[in-house]
Symmetry: C2
Subunit: 365 residues, 2 copies
């Protein structure tokens, strides 16, 4: 397939290797592996996980749960604290698969209890420091109360405590990632210790890509749920979590114009293709992607003085050092390593594999 | 229709009024009105423009041109400097409608000349200071050369000079917008003066929403192409370009959790719904949206101490002042005025009108 407009290229072999590595790691550490499918959002890529032995998954919305249930996944955790208005639809889904939901307050639990008619697994969402959602691990009176109420509903099965240590993404070093992960382990272990007599089957579920990629200690953890690792991206690379050669996706974009007077190259490829997440480059400015060019049929990764430095709706602007400007002319294609593969994939809605196959993602619902 | 997950609500009456105002303004100033359809990307909303007398449009990609051509638009300018790999498809489209493309370099022009087999209009893209794409207005040797080459191709019809004064979006005051617009007018007028003897029919085309909304002087301009004005958004409001009551879109999002300990409310509604454009709030922090709540069946716009202050993939975090926290509880819906309606609409892919109709946007191509 000839590429004529912004296209998300997926190196299947790298993705398969990333999957295999994480499957092996989970197996070696005796952890249940419930990968997060919000990164790829694709039934076909889901099959790559199934072939590697995965049989349960995590998703970030009911819509996504429904899509993957329709594609043969029958054990799904919706890792978004229960969205009360969706409970009727969630209940319907619980009637046909093994479904787990998250609660973090009485309102959510009560709404579930009032409306659910099928067996549903319930995790209590714990905040281990990310400060987005969940209950701080030391708020045991609230947890006690939720557990007491869960017990009143025979249809609700308490599964355990779940957390997303998302503040590993704000770490300044890999040491920082270890430290935040270790802190999360301690908090979750305290919950296990306190509640395991009454709930001997309770599970501890953790899972962000940074800690699952580089940490080896998962004491007291039963399940991991990383997602981004299937593709990785520049954000993970900057965190020290992956190598550049572990990144499975690239945006391929045509060059529209070259402006030597300001050391800039304009590509067709903008905010509607990449999303707008950035990391800070060595010059202190936001970087939206690293650049790979072709020269004599060889791919060359340009250094960090060359980068995608601005995005408008359809255009991207590359800052290019004078000595590298000769790689660019209107009409050629360049490859950009994206900063945040989850959001880029979500916008592109399909992949072109290095083998030339087109893989669709879930349709807009 | 009951709203149970993030939904883009469109007030049709406001959008119709915004369209009518811009149509009247263009008529009063004797300007051809070629609105940019990249903001709404919807055939149905396109019909609202047609009903107001619009018969030619601007789009930002070949894909979008193709979609609107299939929906009855036969006079379209693709306002992206020619993307060489797409020329075969562009040529096919030029065979069935009146199509204008943009060039800004010899490579683009030559590729067009070599491949085009249908009459095609050509604008030369001028950079009036935005520094994204286009030729600086004073680079007349390059312009001379392009015009000489255009004349060699009987199929290419030189239409005139086109610019997007996009740096009005970086203005610090409405005075700044006037000043940048006036500067663009001078540059474009200089081109008209220089080239109008040889090209008496040449057009000058400008068109960003800030200047088209608040400036009244368009001397020497023949055509305007604003797009965002159909919905407006917080970015335009902050620029002083529209009133809050001119903003036609809202995101409706369910509340997931309330965290009084840190004055935060979590909504279901994240980067995959809003996009990640932000403006700077009064506290110096990024603001991703303003908040409207319901109280006693009345809608209340909360002040700027309350705002959408962070987005992850599916979650948004609202900063809420203590006295306003009681408006929020899990399961209720809140409305968020988005910062950049173009990118939010692009992600949501459909609208729910205040009359309860669902309007689809162009499908992913």
């Amino acid at each position: 397939m000839e590429i004529v407009r912004p296209t998300l290229l997926l190196d299947k072999n790298i993705a398969l290797r990333n999957i295999e590595n994480m499957v092996s790691k989970a197996r070696d550490l005796h952890l249940n592996f419930r990968p997060h499918f919000k990164t790829h959002q694709s039934a076909e890529i889901g099959e790559w996980f199934r072939a590697a032995g995965v049989n349960c998954i995590t998703v970030s919305s009911f819509t996504m749960a429904s899509y993957f249930a329709d594609n043969g996944w029958d054990d799904i955790t919706i890792a978004l604290s229960i969205n009360i208005p969706e409970i009727p639809e969630i209940n319907e889904l619980a009637g046909r698969i093994k479904l787990n939901v998250l609660i973090e307050n009485q309102e959510g639990l009560e709404a579930l209890q009032n409306q659910i008619t099928w067996h549903t697994g319930v995790f209590i969402k714990i905040d281990t420091g990310y400060n987005r959602t969940g209950i701080e691990a030391n708020r045991t009176p609230l947890i006690d109360q939720l557990l007491a109420n869960i017990q009143k509903s025979p249809l609700l099965q308490f599964k355990g405590f779940l957390s997303h240590t998302g503040h590993t993404y704000q770490a300044n070093s890999t040491h920082d990632i270890f430290s935040r992960h270790f802190d999360a382990l301690l908090k979750m272990k305290a919950l296990r210790t306190r509640y395991q007599n009454e709930w001997p089957d309770l599970m501890i579920s953790l899972g962000d890509t940074p800690s699952c990629s580089i940490c080896d200690k998962f004491d007291g953890v039963d399940e991991i749920r990383p997602g981004n690792f299937v593709f990785y991206d520049l954000m993970q690379y900057k965190l020290g979590v992956c190598k550049l050669t572990d990144i499975a996706v690239r945006m391929v974009c045509p060059v529209i114009a070259v402006h030597p007077s300001r050391n800039e190259v304009v590509i067709y490829g903008g905010a509607v293709h990449f999303g707008k997440d950035s990391i800070i480059n060595i010059d202190g400015k936001p970087l939206f992607g690293r650049i790979i060019v072709n020269a004599d049929d060889k791919k060359i990764l340009l250094d960090e003085k060359n980068y995608l430095h601005a995005l408008s709706q359809e255009h991207g602007i590359l800052k290019i050092s004078p000595r590298d400007l000769n790689y660019f002319k209107p009409g050629i294609l360049v490859e950009i390593i994206p900063v945040h593969s989850c959001l880029t994939a979500n916008l592109m809605k399909e992949y072109l594999t290095t083998e030339g196959d087109v893989i669709r993602m879930m349709p807009f619902a």
